[in-house]
């Protein structure tokens, strides 16, 4: 590709420059390394917004614009409207309370459940099927029942949350506890370490990366759980779910989208926080490349 520049003449002054540039771009360190890492997702975002505008203004009937409100109206009509913003913030706070309480309970129950199963084969055999069943139950179908059993307030919403968030913790913790290196186990066995010692000094620390991976999944799930429960109960103080449900029935497009975006962003934040906590807890010693 690199042709020799003519030895003389006015052209040579600019030619070497061109050559260096073309050479630099010939061998980027890695494919795509030309852009900073934030460029591609932003480009995708721009494309999505453009498509959205296209659908809002060109594809659908203006009378039905509430179905796909133009993106800027989500701000002008919803986020910038003090009343709507107030409603959404309050609902977010309530849903966050439910989600985080549910998540905390799911973590405690999940850890205990998995630890119990890791202690004996028969306990695992007796209890693991129920973890799977719990995961496979269509929670949506159960939500109204939970409402009837436990009322429609905070406790019932938390229960929905726990049910959704429990399985990833149970499954990941159990996996982590059981995949301890055989040699490390024998090291403890040779010193006649008891179960409690093995659990606290070997299995639990070794399982931490898996436990945090489970928590991260559960964190996102608990946000969904909080909103789903609320969405169906539609009673008591409205959380984000009830708010979404209200906006839906009142055909308030921009407000609806604003509430949905808030819910999604909240989920992302919780997910990121748990990822960060995991890094903080095990990042120093855990080799992610393994």
């Amino acid at each position: 590709m690199t042709t020799t520049a003519p030895p003389t003449g006015p052209v040579t002054t600019s030619n070497p420059k061109i050559r260096t540039i073309s050479r630099a771009s010939e061998m980027p360190a890695r494919r795509g390394a030309r852009f900073p890492s934030w460029v591609p997702p932003v480009l995708v975002f721009v494309v999505i917004i453009a498509l959205w505008y296209f659908v809002s203004y060109v594809v659908i009937d203006p009378k039905q614009s509430f179905l796909v409100p133009p993106p800027h109206t989500i701000f002008t009509d919803a986020f910038f409207d003090p009343k709507t913003l107030g409603d959404i913030s309050e609902a977010l706070a309530r849903s966050a309370g439910v989600a985080l309480t549910g998540l905390a309970i799911a973590i405690i129950i999940g850890l205990l459940w998995a630890i119990a199963m890791s202690q004996a084969r028969w306990i695992e055999r007796s209890l693991f099927p129920y973890a799977v069943i719990l995961q496979c139950i269509p929670i949506l179908a159960l939500v109204p029942l939970i409402g009837f059993w436990f009322g429609f307030d905070f406790p019932a919403r938390v229960i929905v949350c726990v049910m959704i968030a429990l399985f990833p913790i149970v499954a990941n913790t159990l996996f982590g506890l059981q995949s301890v290196d055989k040699g490390q186990r024998e090291l403890f066995q040779l010193q006649k370490a008891n179960r409690w010692t093995v659990l606290t000094k070997l299995e639990f620390p070794a399982a931490l990366p898996a436990i945090f991976a489970g928590m991260r999944i559960s964190a996102g799930a608990s946000v969904v759980g909080a909103i789903v429960g609320d969405f169906f109960f539609r009673r008591g103080e409205p959380g984000l779910g009830a708010l979404i449900s209200n906006y839906q029935s009142r055909v308030q497009g921009p407000e609806l989208f604003a509430a949905i975006i808030t819910a999604a962003l909240f989920g992302v934040v919780v997910f990121l926080v748990f990822g960060w906590l995991g890094k903080l807890a095990v990042g120093k010693w855990y080799d992610y490349s393994k």
Binding site: E186, L190, T197, W285, D287
Partner: protein
């Protein structure tokens, strides 16, 4: 099938490990060992060489009590048994210092005493200055040193090595061999070392035991006449070459 752990003041004062007619048959029917008779005394360093899968490691597992033999008798005359695994088996979340302290910690030794023990062991294996390092930042050889240090804190009378340097490069392996010899001459434990390197076997030990393939049997035993501490250069002497040749020959014989 009996594994007896006698108190250190046994009638046989120096015999730390004794296998008599030991056999091991796994539940799936494969016979890993049959009719093994072997004694290791204090001040002896016995190396077992044999083809892969001949049950060498099983021998160590039986000696340590990890797996009971299915026949024969095993006597271990001490409770202070060091066991060095093929992998360093360090706990990745613990620093070198905390890893070396682990065994003492599991045995309920108070913090102050085990910190001192660990410091001594770390110094012995040449890891001073790396106490605060995590295993993932160490090289394979350094991890093995940490693993050795960890066993040393038990002040073992019987030291079992399960191919500890098999995964290391030649240069690191030879250096660790020398350090192991130094440890052996200083601490005077009874060593039982598994390897499939003939030259490592001859270089390290007072006695080389050759095992045949399945079922694992002792086919020949060689006494190594070289005095300790051993000069790395003895590897290139005719006597060394001759002995290594005989061991290799016995290995091939046993294999066929």
């Amino acid at each position: 099938m009996t594994l007896t752990t006698d108190p250190p003041v046994a009638t046989t004062t120096t015999e730390l490990l004794n296998f008599s007619d030991v056999a091991m048959t796994f539940p799936n029917g494969t016979t890993a060992l049959s009719g093994v008779d072997l004694t290791v005394k204090k001040g002896e360093f016995v190396t077992v060489v044999g083809p892969s899968g001949c049950g060498k490691s099983t021998l160590l597992r039986i000696a340590s009590g990890l797996t009971p033999a299915t026949a024969g008798e095993t006597h271990v005359a001490t409770k202070r048994i060091g066991y060095v695994f093929q992998d360093a088996t360090l706990l990745p979340w613990r620093t070198v210092q905390a890893n070396v302290e682990l065994l003492a910690e599991l045995n309920g030794i108070p913090k102050k005493a085990r910190v001192a023990e660990a410091a001594k062991a770390i110094e012995l294996v040449g890891l001073k200055g790396f106490e605060k390092h995590l295993p993932k930042t160490l090289s394979g050889g350094m991890r093995m040193r940490a693993s050795l240090a960890r066993s040393l804190t038990l002040d073992p009378e019987l030291f079992l090595f399960d191919e500890p340097f098999g995964a290391l490069d030649e240069i690191t392996r030879e250096r660790l061999n020398d350090e192991l010899i130094k440890l052996f001459t200083e601490q005077q434990f009874a060593g039982l070392f598994i390897t499939h390197s003939v030259s490592e076997a001859v270089y390290l030990s007072t006695r080389v035991v050759v095992m045949s393939g399945r079922p694992g049997k002792i086919v020949e035993t060689f006494d190594v006449p070289f005095a300790y501490p051993r000069d790395p250069e003895i590897r290139f002497t005719p006597e060394f070459a001759e002995l290594a040749g005989e061991v290799s020959h016995a290995l091939r014989e046993g294999h066929s």
